[in-house]
């Protein structure tokens, strides 16, 4: 299933269309398609880089396609533990804001349900393209996904006693058509924000056992004390 599922639910948080679009697409894209990365690399072949830095930090004429997002966070846990948690894709909805659910279909395939504009949902099937226990997980959406996307997460040992650097790289190919253009427009600006928020929530969950919440009362009548508002 690759289209929008029109569930008809009102979005309970009253999110704007744009915000949900941002989240939906970025989450769908939660980290790089092997094919896509391959293409990117070949495009710049012959121009050796001097910098020992991830591709997402390149600038000027070296800047990769804006659809490539990279973000690194250091987590005070060992790489295997973090890998194990992430590898159970069901767990992703605990810290990825717009991932409603991920269902494992077999050893390499999973079905993702993503929150989409106006209370709708998007579904697509994702396939693992690289799996190095304790080191790397990469996946990409199967043919026909509304948002063609791929993710890659690397678990890199930090200095001794400093935990693990978790680097997520995301790339996506927005769909054609009006909705596709709307998503694409938003994606070029905001998915990095979503990616860093999701990684931060992953860190919170792994280090403290809970996703941090400042939910508390205020003088704003619309807000409840157990819900997180900005």
């Amino acid at each position: 299933m690759t289209g929008f599922l029109l569930s008809g639910d009102e979005d309970e948080r009253g999110d704007t269309l744009q915000r949900t679009l941002i989240g939906a697409a970025a989450m769908a894209a939660a980290a790089g398609v092997a094919l896509y990365f391959g293409r990117k690399r070949s495009e710049t072949a012959g121009e050796p880089l001097l910098s020992d830095a991830p591709a997402s930090t390149l600038r000027g004429s070296r800047k990769p396609d804006p659809a490539l997002i990279g973000r690194t966070v250091t987590i005070n846990r060992n790489a295997q533990e973090l890998y194990d948690f992430w590898r159970k894709f069901e767990n992703l909805s605990q810290f990825m804001d717009n991932v409603r659910a991920v269902e494992t279909l077999d050893n390499s395939r999973s079905r993702w349900t993503i929150a989409a504009p106006a209370g709708t949902e998007i579904e697509f099937v994702s396939r693992i393209t690289e799996d190095q226990p304790g080191r790397v997980i990469a996946w990409e959406s199967e043919e026909g996904a509304t948002i063609r996307n791929a993710g890659r997460v690397e678990f890199i040992d930090a200095a001794p006693g400093r935990g693990t650097m978790v680097r997520a790289t995301i790339t996506y190919d927005p769909p054609a058509g009006t909705v596709g253009r709307a998503i694409a427009k938003v994606l070029q600006r905001e998915p990095n924000v979503q990616a860093r928020r999701d990684l931060r929530r992953f860190k919170q969950l792994m280090e403290t056992g809970e996703v941090t919440s400042s939910a508390s009362p205020s003088g704003r009548r619309s807000e409840e004390p157990t819900k997180q508002y900005l």
Binding site: E210, T212, P217, G219, P225, T226
Partner: protein
């Protein structure tokens, strides 16, 4: 419940708001017995701190009685606890280094984005202090949700009155860390700008750490008097040229350590400060660092500058030449409250630190808006205000008679 809420510049009200609830298993809810108004609350009152939202509950110096306990909290109902204003997870790298105010996890993912944009890194969480630091409700209310209750709260032994321990939440550890950051050696002369609560505790702490002399600088007679009561020499900055006075009083050397307990709303006479005021009000610059500049310019060669005063934005005319050529060291930061509470509680119990001499007023929560105005307009006589939700409206008690007797 009733709570003091912020609605804009110089607009604080008492509202009826929903009660807080347990959100995570490590949370507790406390019933507030005492909550102080802090000097840094004036920055919010004056509208200097971005990311306040109308309706936010104020108050980061809180204590009370545990009334509700999450499944994973080690606290028990009925315990009296003081709550550090810093929200800290206890398990990140920074908490492990006891740099609790730098906690990596206590600012939720959505709000920490703002400080990342502003400062290039995500700030730690703090209670009752704008959305930049997490958007947590404060405790100038009847009840407060306390996250990570296994990390922050200090359980208070029976028989110690609130006034004696309340300041463990912020200003006492802040004054202590300010003195610690000044790396005081026996025989040192320490200059302290600002004789508000943090300055007064920094003076006490400096003496406890072996300072030979402390010179305190302010312009409020009552506050200078309190500093003198602690054994400090005092300078009224409208009466004397502070730099010259410090130079002369230290035999032409300058203080070994300088502590800026004033922060971004420094009052001062210099032309630089007048320009800063204009800029602050036109949003061209946000900080008015007269005391900070004076501290750097006055400090002896190779000396130390400690900055507990709150700054939030950019500063013009940082005297980088004097700072570099004299070889100064500067330490600053929000207080790592949890690092100091146990030691300071013991010192209070042993009578080494007097925490009550600066309290000038007790008032009800309902009188909170009036107290904010007084705190802002009458800093000479209102040296520290404690709000007690248990008091009736109008039951303002002054404690001016409890003036500290010099030893």
């Amino acid at each position: 419940m009733r709570a003091l809420t912020w609605h804009g510049r110089h607009d604080v009200r008492v509202d009826t708001v929903p009660d807080p609830e347990i959100v995570h298993p490590r949370d507790v809810i406390i019933k507030i017995t005492s909550t102080a108004i802090c000097g840094s609350d004036l920055h919010l009152f004056d509208g200097y701190i971005p990311t306040m939202r109308a309706g936010d509950i104020l108050g980061h110096e809180n204590m009370g009685e545990v009334v509700e306990v999450g499944a994973k909290s080690p606290l028990k109902k009925g315990q009296r606890v003081v709550i550090p204003f810093t929200v800290s997870c206890g398990s990140c790298y920074f908490c492990g280094k006891q740099q609790f105010s730098a906690c990596d996890n206590s600012n939720p993912a959505t709000t920490s984005d703002m400080s990342e944009t502003l400062y290039g890194y995500p700030m730690g969480g703090a209670l009752g202090y704008a959305h930049l630091t997490g958007g947590y409700a404060g405790g100038q209310a009847e009840y407060l949700r306390v996250p990570y209750s296994d990390v922050g709260p200090v359980v208070i032994p029976d028989g110690m009155p609130d006034d004696q321990v309340l300041f463990l939440s912020d200003i006492l550890p802040t004054g202590w860390m300010a003195a610690e950051n000044a790396e005081i050696e026996p025989g040192d002369t320490v200059a302290v700008w600002g004789c508000g609560p943090v300055g007064l505790f920094a003076i006490q702490s400096a003496f406890l750490m072996g300072a030979h002399r402390v010179i305190a600088i302010d312009h409020f007679p009552r506050r200078l008097e309190l500093a003198k009561g602690l054994g400090a020499e005092i300078l009224h900055f409208r009466e004397v040229n502070v730099r010259e006075a410090l130079f002369e009083m230290t035999g032409g050397i300058g203080p070994d350590a300088c502590i800026d307990c004033v922060g971004m709303e420094a009052h001062g006479l210099g032309i630089d400060n007048i320009l800063d005021t204009v800029k602050a009000h036109t949003f061209l610059g946000t900080d008015r660092p007269a005391a900070f500049r004076q501290a750097i310019l006055s400090c002896r060669k190779g000396g130390r500058v400690s900055v507990p005063g709150v700054y939030g934005g950019m500063m013009d005319k940082f005297p980088i030449g004097a700072f570099m050529e004299k070889g100064l060291t500067m330490k600053t930061g929000q207080t790592h409250v949890q690092k100091y509470t146990a030691e300071l509680l013991r010192m209070i119990e042993e009578g080494k630190i007097d925490t009550t001499f600066l309290v000038s007023h007790h008032a009800s929560l309902e009188d909170g808006p009036d107290m904010y105005r007084h705190w802002h307009d009458h800093q000479d006589t209102y040296t520290k205000i404690i709000l007690k939700p248990g008091l009736e409206k109008g039951a303002v008690q002054t404690q001016q008679e409890k003036i500290h007797e010099p030893a």
